[in-house]
C-alpha cells in the first residue's frame, strides 16, 4: 500500500511544519498558490530559487523545499539579482512583504524593474509591518491605525501596480488571498514570463491589522474582499489606489515584452565585440 503523502510534499518543507503564521493569516494562502503555480508551470524545481527578506512574509523562503534564501530586511531583490545574473539558468522568485520590498527595499524594487532583471516578485501586502507588531507601512490606507499611527495614518500609500509598471515591470497583476485560483494563474504566468514580473497579493493579517482596526478575524477580511473586489483586467494602473475599506480592483494590468538585463547586455556586447563575444547565459553559468 502506498503511504499517504501531502500533495505539496515535493515543494514544501514538511519537516518544518507547523509554520509560524497565525490562524487566518493570508501568507499561507499565498504559499499554497505559489506551490500550485510551481506545479502548473512545470518548471524544474531543482533550478528554482526563492529569496525572501525579513518579516512574517519573509519567512516564506524557509518553508519551500527549493534553494531558498532568507536574507536581510529589504535586500531580497538585489540578492535575487545577483543570484539570477550569476546563474541565468535559475528561475528566481522573490516572495516578501510590502514593507520589506517597498519601504526599506523600495529603491531596489524600482531599479530591478527598470533593468528588467528576469526575476518574479510576489509581494504579500497586509497593509502593515506585521513581524514587528503592526506598524505603519507604505501601503497602510488612510486613516487606518497601526501602533505607530495610533491616531490614524495620514500619509498617502503607494499604489504598487502603478509603481511597478512605471518602473518598467513587464508583468503586473493584483489579487487578494480569497482569489486563489486567479492568483495561482497569475503566478503561473509570471513564472513563465521573461523579465521583471510583479504580483501583489492582498492578504489578511487578523492578529494585528484587523484586530487593531476592529475588522474582525481572517474570515471577516475575506468577506470584505468578497464584497468589495472587482476584476478589471488591463485597467490603467494609475486607477489602482486602495482606500480604507474601499473597493479593491484586481486583475492583470500589464503583460508586455522588452529585453531583459541579460538580453540587453548580450545585444550590446555583440554589437561592440562581434564574434569575439561569447553570449552570456546558461551555457557559461556555472564556471567557478
Amino acid at each position: 500500500m502506498n503511504a499517504v503523502t501531502h500533495p505539496m510534499e515535493d515543494i514544501l518543507r514538511m519537516d518544518r511544519m507547523p509554520h509560524i503564521w497565525c490562524p487566518g493569516c493570508g501568507i499561507g494562502t499565498a504559499v499554497t498558490a505559489f506551490a500550485m503555480a510551481l506545479q502548473k508551470a512545470e518548471i524544474c524545481l531543482d533550478k528554482t530559487a526563492v529569496v525572501s527578506g525579513i518579516g512574517c512574509s519573509g519567512r516564506v523562503a524557509g518553508y519551500v523545499k527549493l534553494d531558498s534564501f532568507h536574507t536581510t530586511h529589504g535586500r531580497a531583490i538585489p540578492f535575487a539579482t545577483g543570484l539570477k545574473l550569476a546563474n541565468p539558468e535559475l528561475t528566481v522568485v522573490v516572495i516578501s512583504g510590502d514593507g520589506d520590498l517597498i519601504a526599506i527595499g523600495g529603491n531596489h524594487f524600482i531599479h530591478a524593474a527598470r533593468r528588467n532583471v528576469d526575476i518574479k516578485v510576489f509581494c504579500i501586502n497586509n497593509f502593515n509591518y506585521a513581524m514587528t507588531g503592526g506598524q505603519l507601512a507604505p501601503t497602510t490606507p488612510e486613516p487606518a491605525t497601526t501602533t505607530t499611527s495610533p491616531y490614524g495614518a495620514f500619509e498617502h500609500p503607494f499604489n504598487l501596480p502603478f509603481l511597478a509598471e512605471s518602473s518598467g515591470a513587464v508583468y503586473v497583476a493584483r489579487w487578494t488571498a480569497l482569489h486563489i485560483r486567479r492568483l495561482t494563474k497569475s503566478m503561473t504566468e509570471a513564472l513563465s514570463k521573461k523579465g521583471f514580473s510583479f504580483v501583489e497579493i492582498i492578504a489578511p493579517c487578523p492578529t494585528l491589522y484587523s484586530r487593531r482596526n476592529r475588522l474582525g478575524d481572517g474570515l471577516d477580511e475575506l468577506k470584505y474582499y468578497h464584497d468589495n473586489s472587482v476584476i478589471k483586467h488591463g485597467l490603467d494602473t494609475r486607477e489602482l489606489d486602495i482606500g480604507y475599506r474601499k473597493e479593491i480592483v484586481m486583475g492583470k494590468f500589464v503583460d508586455k515584452d522588452r529585453p531583459t538585463f541579460i538580453e540587453a547586455l548580450n545585444d550590446r556586447f555583440t554589437q561592440v565585440f562581434g564574434d569575439k563575444y561569447e553570449q552570456y547565459g546558461p551555457q557559461n553559468a556555472n564556471g567557478n
Partner: protein, 387 residues
C-alpha cells in the same frame, strides 16, 4: 588548481594599485562584480567593467552599496566568485550584508580603498581609519579576514589570496587598501596562469537526502561543504541562527555552537592565514609595526634611525585580521618597545597593545589622514621611545 588563463593578463605592466587589484580579481577567477562608484576605488570597478565581457564575467553597477553587497552574496550562491569595491561611506552601507555573509558562510571579497573619514571626510586623500570597522563593523560576533597591501604588485597578489581564503574558509575577505596604494603606479608582474594557484570552493557532491548544508566533519575542519544554487540540493540559507540543516533554531545552545564555529574557523587557523614580513626584528631593541602605505614611510624612518645607531626592526603586516598575535607575543619577549605607524589616531595599536600585554612598551605614531607621516615625525617618536 591553476588559474583560468582567460582572465590572466600575463606580462610586466605599469599599473596603479586599483587596476592591479582588478587584475588580481580576474586572475583569481572572479566572474561576478556588483558595485557603486566611490573615490578612490572607482578605477577597480571601471577596469572590471572593461575587462569582464570577454572573459565571461558579469558586471553590474547597482543602485547603492546596500544592493551591491546583497548582489555579491547572490552572485556567490549562484556559483561565481564574487566581489565588490568601495571606500568609507559605501563600506558603512555594506555592513549589514557583510554580517549576513559571515553568518551564512558566503565566500566573497570586499575591497575598501580607504580615504580619510569620518563621514565624507577626504574623498581623494588617504586614511587607514576603517581597520576596526573591517573587523567589527557588522553587529554580533564573527570573524573576517583582512589583508593590507603596500604596493600595486601586492594589490594584485593579495587580491588573489583574498579570493582563495574566502573560498577556503567561506568568509568575507576584505582587501584594505588605502588611497596612496590605490593610486600609486608601479611595475606589476603578472605571471602565467599556470603559476597562479587558485582555490575553488569545496562543493558537496554526495547523495541529496544526506546533505546537511552546515554540518562539519573532521575531513573539512570547521568549514562546511557548500552547494551552489541550482545543483539540485534544495538547501535553505538564513541569517537567523541555524542548525546543521540550515534551519532556523533560535535558542542558546545552537547559537553557542553556530557562532563559536564562525569565530573559531578563522581564529584557530590564524597561523595558516596571517602573513607578515620582518626586517631585522630579531636583533632589534625597537620594532616598528606598520601596514599599507604607512609601512613604506616607516621603512624610511627605520633607515634614518639606523643611521643614528638605533637597533630597530620593522614588522610589516600583510594580514591585519586575524591579527598575527602569536608572533607579536614572541617578539615582545625580546624587544623594549614597539611603535605602531598608522594613518589613524590609534586603531591597530590597540590590538598590538592587547597582544603585547605589557611585555614591552607600545607607542603610537598617529596621523589623522589626508597625507602620509613625515619620516621625521616617526623618528621623533622612535627617539622618545628609546629614552
Amino acid at each position: 588548481m591553476k588559474a583560468d588563463p582567460k582572465g590572466v593578463l600575463t606580462g610586466a605592466h605599469f599599473l596603479d594599485g586599483d587596476h592591479a587589484c582588478a587584475e588580481g580579481a580576474l586572475a583569481a577567477g572572479c566572474r561576478f562584480f556588483a558595485g557603486y562608484p566611490i573615490t578612490p576605488s572607482t578605477e577597480v570597478a571601471e577596469r572590471i567593467a572593461l575587462r569582464f565581457p570577454l572573459v565571461g564575467g558579469i558586471f553590474i553597477q547597482m543602485e547603492d552599496e546596500l544592493a551591491s553587497m546583497a548582489a555579491v552574496l547572490g552572485g556567490a550562491w549562484g556559483g561565481k566568485k564574487s566581489m565588490t569595491v568601495t571606500s568609507g561611506p559605501g563600506f558603512s552601507l555594506m555592513m549589514e550584508n557583510i554580517g549576513l555573509a559571515a553568518m551564512t558562510e558566503t565566500p566573497c571579497v570586499i575591497v575598501n580603498v580607504q580615504r580619510g573619514g569620518p563621514s565624507t571626510g577626504l574623498p581623494t586623500l588617504p586614511g587607514q581609519q576603517d581597520m576596526m570597522q573591517a573587523r567589527w563593523g557588522s553587529h554580533g560576533d564573527y570573524e573576517i579576514i583582512a589583508v593590507v597591501p603596500n604596493s600595486p604588485q601586492e594589490c594584485f597578489d593579495v587580491t588573489i589570496e583574498a579570493f582563495n581564503l574566502s573560498e577556503e574558509y567561506r568568509v568575507p575577505v576584505m582587501v584594505m587598501m588605502d588611497e596612496c596604494v590605490g593610486h600609486m603606479t608601479e611595475k606589476v608582474v603578472i605571471p602565467p596562469a599556470e603559476e597562479i594557484e587558485v582555490f575553488n570552493r569545496r562543493l558537496y557532491d554526495g547523495p541529496k537526502q544526506d546533505y546537511l548544508p552546515y554540518a562539519v566533519d573532521s575531513d573539512n575542519g570547521r568549514v562546511p561543504l557548500m552547494a551552489n544554487a541550482g545543483a539540485g540540493y534544495r538547501f535553505h540559507v538564513t541569517g537567523l541562527t541555524h542548525d546543521e540543516r540550515g534551519y532556523p533554531a533560535m535558542n542558546a545552545e545552537v547559537q553557542q555552537e553556530c557562532v563559536t564555529r564562525l569565530v573559531d574557523k578563522v581564529k584557530l587557523n590564524t597561523h595558516a592565514i596571517a602573513r607578515y614580513e620582518e626586517e631585522e626584528v630579531e636583533e632589534a631593541d625597537i620594532v616598528l609595526v606598520a601596514y599599507g602605505i604607512s609601512s613604506r614611510v616607516a621603512m624610511r624612518a627605520l633607515e634614518m634611525a639606523r643611521a643614528d645607531g638605533i637597533k630597530i626592526g620593522l614588522f610589516r603586516m600583510i594580514t591585519a585580521w586575524p591579527f598575527p598575535e602569536e608572533r607579536i607575543r614572541q617578539i615582545a619577549q625580546h624587544v623594549n618597545s614597539f611603535v605602531m605607524v598608522e594613518l589613524n589616531l590609534g586603531q591597530m595599536v590597540t590590538e598590538l597593545e592587547r597582544c603585547v600585554a605589557g611585555a614591552a612598551k607600545v607607542h603610537l605614531a598617529p596621523h589623522a589622514g589626508g597625507w602620509v607621516h613625515h619620516p621625521e615625525d616617526i623618528l621623533q617618536i622612535i627617539s622618545e621611545a628609546t629614552t
